[in-house]
Symmetry: C2
Subunit: 243 residues, 2 copies
DNA sequence: TATTATTGTATCATTATGTTACAATAGTAA
DNA sequence: TTACTATTGTAACATAATGATACAATAATA
């Protein structure tokens, strides 16, 4: 779904879009020691869904995914990767979209392109929670963060898509060094460890974690952070961007 | 491309297929200490291409990929995984397909569905070279193995697709334990090490490799293999399938 | 029976990771 | 100022994983 939905509704053939192909984006954020994802709520239907969209005939598929991310968060230059193509026939279920359209007073013809079978390319993004500005599209009343362990009921197979995105994130967290994308520019070692523990859902050994992170040579020590607590102030680190 | 190409050619609208979506399969085999991939050669055009196909409207996308693999190799129950979606607009180039059709005496209308832009889901498969029976489709004169380091000139972005598949294979070789899929059911430790060295393109330490593999508890020692060489006979191992 | 090439594994060295401990604070309260 | 507390940074040692070398155990052959 995107801001151009009105046009999409009006034109039953879907001119200007790649047919049968969609994008679903699992946009991760980290706040209050919880992993969260951005979800849209649809007017009068009680349905929740991942941000998504379609591909214009002049766009690369990856470009379209960046556009979706920009439209829902206002962010560019964000970590964004494909992780799986959801192409089962059983995904096809016109009912939710009909309900959404009906709630808006639209009765689409049976052969409306949006009611056809879609294959969806799954993307996951890692964003700085404090920088993102959740923005609903034209047919949803809200775009908000939901904790992964307290999700509302989701449309179609969106629950599965989130599950698979999380698995990908867990695997790639250790391989590629992508966790930093979920934090603010500056962070303490404790914050970084909290993030890792939340994503991996297990306790890590503090001394070993710190030693490992520092040994990677990807962290720059910026300054001390005086939190007001009655204890030694932690250092603030910053991820060193490679040139 | 697949055996139903004749039907596909005849029907300019592409009825019965998902529009604009294709599958490209990088089918890896291992022979003569070389990694090889299956390629098709097209009649009278000098063009080489990856095995591929389209998705029937009654098929899951993954199912369609299995069908392609079966049609080109005769194999089922094979390691097969998605690795990337190739969706750049710049991929669109009707020329090769026109050439192929022209070589067959067909002049498609400009709006023929096969000449439109396609997004392709990349799959990679690992097969036992000795078991696969390379089989051309209806419009290619050959289906054969080509060594990765001696590939012919390939259609469109198929070179890039192979490159990306190889990267995926290298990353997953250590994570998941998938190398065995490229060997016969029984193999020696030396053969396994050769496979790893070929894929990773680097020498491995024999003692450490053997110790690591045995410690994983995934190998069953079957018997000795008397090769006729004037030296100690190696053991033959078999991958233990988990239940 | 000696010779040769290769395999399986033991041994030690090096590196990485798990675990414990402790000094160095930054605040609070006496 | 001075104890007291909680947390951080890191040293120190233990354990595990990997790298490197060495050598005994063979299958064939001469």
């Amino acid at each position: 779904m995107n801001n151009e939905f009105k046009n999409q509704e009006a034109d039953a053939r879907g001119d200007g879009y790649l047919p049968g192909l969609a994008i679903d984006a699992v946009i991760f954020g980290f706040h209050d020691n919880q992993l969260k994802v951005l979800l849209l709520a649809y007017k009068n239907t009680g349905l929740f869904a991942l941000p998504g969209g379609f591909i214009r005939d002049y766009e690369d598929v990856n470009e379209a995914a960046r556009r979706v991310l920009l439209d829902r968060t206002g962010l560019t230059n964000i970590f964004l990767d494909q992780f799986y193509v959801f192409g089962d026939r059983s995904r096809h279920d016109a009912a939710p979209l009909k309900a959404i359209m009906a709630a808006r007073g639209v009765m689409p013809p049976e052969n409306h392109w949006l009611l056809k079978r879609f294959v969806s390319v799954g993307y996951y993004a890692l964003v700085d929670f404090t920088k993102a500005i959740p923005t609903p599209d034209s047919i949803s009343d809200s775009c908000d963060w939901y904790a992964l362990d307290d999700l509302p009921v989701l449309m179609q197979d969106h629950q599965l898509i989130i599950q698979k995105a999380l698995e990908t994130l867990r695997i790639n967290l250790d391989q590629k060094l992508i966790g930093f994308n979920l934090l603010t520019e500056d962070f303490t070692m404790g914050e970084l460890q909290n993030l890792y523990e939340t994503i991996l859902n297990k306790k890590l050994i503090r001394a070993a974690f710190q030693r490992k992170m520092l040994s990677l040579g990807i962290l720059e020590r910026i300054a001390k952070k005086f939190t007001g607590g009655a204890h030694k102030a932690p250092y603030v680190y910053r991820f060193i961007l490679e040139k």
